[in-house]
Symmetry: C2
DNA sequence: TATTGTTATACTCTATAACTATA
DNA sequence: TATAGTTATAGAGTATAACAATA
C-alpha cells in the first residue's frame, strides 16, 4: 500500500516561524477555539476518562460499563423483563439481547420464562452472579474513588448533585 | 430463523403479583440500584442526550460531534499537523486520518505539505469550509441553547464551571 | 395490530498492528 | 530509532429492519 499524497502542491506556507524548532510543535498546547463554549465537549472528555478508568479497573473481570449497569439493575429489580431493563437504561432491544446472552454464558444471570406473558423472560442474578457482583462492586468502589480524586472530592459531590436529576 | 428458547424450565415464579395487570410492567419505573452512586453513569446519560441532540440538530449538515470538534480546532489553530490536532482532542491517528479524508472530500479542509517536515501536513479550512462553519455554528448555538434548556440555565452554567478545568 | 425477543446489517468509535516515508 | 500518516482488522455501541411467537 502506497501512502497517498493529497493533490495540494504548495509546500511553502506552513504558518510557523522558520526559527521555531520543529519539536516545539509537539509540545505546544493547541487552543480549543469555540469548543470551550460547549458543555457537551467537557462532558464527553470526562466521560471518556471515566470509561477508560472503569474498563481498566474492571480489567480482571472483563466487564464493560454497560454490562455492569445491567447487572445492577437486575439486582435491584429481580424478575423483570428485558424490555423493562432496556427501557430503564436506554439500551436498545437488539443490543440487550446480545449483552444478556453474554452474561448468561458466564452464568451470572438466568432467564426464566414469565408465567404471565409467554413472550418475555424474567431476569435474575444467579448465585454465581451475586458472588461475582461482590468482587465487581469492590472494584467499582475503587474506580469511583479514583474518579473523585481526579475531579476533586468537592467537585465530585457537586457534580453528583447536579446530574442526578436526569433520565 | 427459529427463536431460541433458554434451557430454563420453570415458568411459575415471576416475582410479580398475579393481580397486577400485565401492562403495568411497562409503565413501572425500575430503580437504578447502586448505579445511582456512580457519577460516570450520570455523565454518560447526559452525554448521550447531548450527542443525540447534536446529531439531530446538525442533521442537515450531516456532521458528527467529532468532525465538528476537528473543524473548530483547525479554525483556531490553522496550519497545524494531524498529530497536533489529534493529541489536542484525544483522537487516535488512524481514526483522524479517515475523519480528515472525509472533511477533505467535502472540500472543507485542505492538507498542504509542510515546509519544515515532509512527513506532515498543515491543516487549514478552505473558503468553503469557513462558509459551512458559519451555518454549522448557528446550528450548534441552537443545540447549546436546547442543552441549557434541558438541564436548566443555572445548572448549565454551574456544570460549565465545574467541568471546564479538565483535559 | 402491537409487543417481546432474536437475528442481521451498517455505520461510528476505539484500539491495535503493520506498513511507508521521513526525521 | 523515532515520528507522521496510512491502511487494515476487530470489538463495542448505536440505529435499523425483518422476523417468529405471543398478546
Amino acid at each position: 500500500m502506497k501512502r497517498r499524497r493529497p493533490s495540494a502542491s504548495v509546500a511553502k506556507a506552513n504558518g510557523r516561524s522558520a526559527a521555531a524548532p520543529a519539536r516545539a510543535e509537539k509540545l505546544d498546547k493547541l487552543t480549543l477555539g469555540q469548543l470551550d463554549s460547549h458543555l457537551g465537549y467537557f462532558l464527553r472528555r470526562l466521560q471518556i476518562w471515566v470509561f477508560q478508568d472503569f474498563i481498566q479497573t474492571l480489567g480482571t473481570m472483563k466487564l464493560r460499563p454497560a454490562q455492569y449497569s445491567v447487572l445492577l439493575v437486575i439486582e435491584a429489580n429481580p424478575g423483570r423483563s428485558q424490555a423493562a431493563i432496556g427501557q430503564t437504561l436506554g439500551i436498545e432491544r437488539a443490543r440487550l439481547t446480545r449483552l444478556l446472552h453474554e452474561l448468561e454464558r458466564r452464568k451470572w444471570i438466568s432467564r426464566r420464562a414469565s408465567g404471565s406473558d409467554a413472550r418475555s423472560y424474567c431476569l435474575h442474578l444467579t448465585a454465581d452472579g451475586e458472588k461475582a457482583l461482590v468482587r465487581i462492586k469492590s472494584l467499582t468502589v475503587q474506580h469511583e474513588a479514583r474518579l473523585a480524586d481526579h475531579v476533586g472530592a468537592q467537585r465530585h459531590m457537586q457534580l453528583m448533585d447536579l446530574l442526578r436529576d436526569f433520565g
